[in-house]
Assembly symmetry: C2
Homo-oligomer: 300 residues x 2
């Protein structure tokens, strides 16, 4: 990536702030915003200004760092952690971050300094991880890639606004499709493989990811096309056995009923708007991680 999505600015021990790239404005505008409190961070994550499980993990870390600078007691840091834990429950990276921060808060050293250092470390690790993961399947292989078909990913169009845009920036040929075109693409376009991300991976390999992933997985199996999940190790949740234990965030009906405040559906119509779905392990060919490719069985 040639742009930065999140950065700490200002003091090490006080008055720090976090600069974020507002992803809801891409690609029309490249807007940065400043975040000063854990509450502002939680709101930015909830509004998808910050999105993608690994980045949410980094944002959570910086949110705790902001709290620790102003906190007069451990209790205040802990309530910031509680707030951020409840912001987007599907993403496991949030909990990896919280587990690391909890260990630090358990000590009695200069907490705000240690927490900020840990947050920087989480960010650096994330950048390295994401680069390693991205490099393998897409960016390094770009000379060999004839075409990436990117689904637009309704309702919030991350596929159109972000995936398609990032691939274009990287010089990789991309064709945008509506989500309902997936079946025809897999049947007719000689697709070599599918790649999706992950928000949380259970011990048995069941994977929570952006809504539509399960549909794509069923289509890929039907057409015998390999189906890869690309995700850093921090996405693997060692505390749950299977996907049915992953909470699925239901988001607001207006995300579907409106685009940029323009009504595109009947007023007040009932909407079912899950942000994620679970893809069972049997649909997944392998996981692409920074530590290499992990093939089934996934049970250990």
């Amino acid at each position: 990536m040639s742009f930065s999505t999140i950065a700490w600015e200002g003091g090490i021990t006080s008055k720090g702030k976090v600069k974020i790239l507002d992803q809801t404005m891409l690609p029309n505008s490249v807007c940065y915003k400043y975040i000063h409190t854990p509450l502002e961070m939680s709101e930015a994550i909830q509004a998808l200004k910050i999105r993608g499980a690994p980045l949410i993990g980094v944002a959570t870390a910086y949110g705790i760092a902001l709290a620790s600078q102003k906190a007069k007691s451990k209790k205040e840091i802990e309530s910031a952690m509680e707030l951020l834990a409840n912001t987007r429950k599907t993403a496991y990276n949030v909990f990896s971050t919280l587990n690391r921060m909890k260990k630090i808060v358990g000590t009695d050293y200069n907490l705000s300094l240690l927490i900020l250092e840990e947050a920087h470390k989480i960010k650096q690790e994330d950048e390295l991880l994401c680069q390693k993961i991205g490099d393998a399947p897409i960016y390094l292989a770009k000379e060999k890639i004839k075409m990436v078909y990117a689904a637009e990913t309704r309702p919030l169009l991350q596929g159109a606004r972000l995936t398609a845009w990032e691939l274009t920036q990287a010089g990789i040929p991309v064709t945008l499709i509506c989500d309902s075109v997936k079946g025809v693409i897999l049947r007719d376009k000689k697709v070599d493989f599918c790649i999706v991300g992950a928000d949380r991976i259970a011990k048995n390999g069941d994977t929570a990811n952006k809504i539509g992933t399960y549909t794509l997985a069923v289509l890929a199996k039907r057409h015998n096309i390999p189906f890869y999940v690309a995700a850093p190790y921090t996405t693997f949740d060692p505390t749950i056995e299977s996907g049915d234990q992953i909470p699925i965030e239901l988001r607001s009906a207006d995300e579907v009923r409106e685009i940029r405040n323009f009504e595109i559906a009947p007023k007040n119509i009932e909407v079912f708007n899950p942000a994620f779905d679970i893809t069972p392990n049997e649909y997944i060919t392998a996981f692409i991680t920074e530590k290499g490719i992990i093939y089934p069985p996934f049970y250990d």
Copy 2:
């Protein structure tokens, strides 16, 4: 339906015009427009102001009626037929209409009168057919229906703007979903059956319908959910053996890149935007037609 989508107004032998409900404005506005020439009719069909294969068949008939009122020769009527034949090539109802009109044009009687009478007849038949077909699965059974899940149907959102709205008008409970939610709905929501429409049905039962139908069919098969195609007999094309002979209309990239002139994707990004897809016969449980339910095999 409690509203009229198309109606002939004005003179029987001259100065006739066609009043249409502009479906692109629904449900925000109920707008009617007047159509005076075959070219205007062709443009209205192309812009999806008039849509749905049976209605396109009726619109084609009235377009020919408009031509015949002003035509000084059979040739002029024939060029109007040629124009309308090329407007939306996937819909078979256009060709059913054209075949009926060709027989009339072959005679030497008062053409404009005969053509208008035939157009009225096609419209009345269509209304009766659509009512019979709709009655069976949805409207008559409405007391038994607990919930219809309607996919929004990107890019032009006919599912949100039209299907969901019409069901609501008829007092049938409906929940709107993004197209990518289909997989989760069929897996988790105890769905009893799927119903789709059709634009053209080949002799072997392969069916062209709105893009996304094939994806739904694969998901339905995966979850052992019956998959019905509801369509009038005029949608069956006796001249082709299988789905690969049905032309698929590719529509403009801007339909995907913009919503109401607001850009929702990177400028100039390549887009693959097929309006329809083909569902092979083996995915179809049965056809619901005005003549009853047709079960496989479909080969005669």
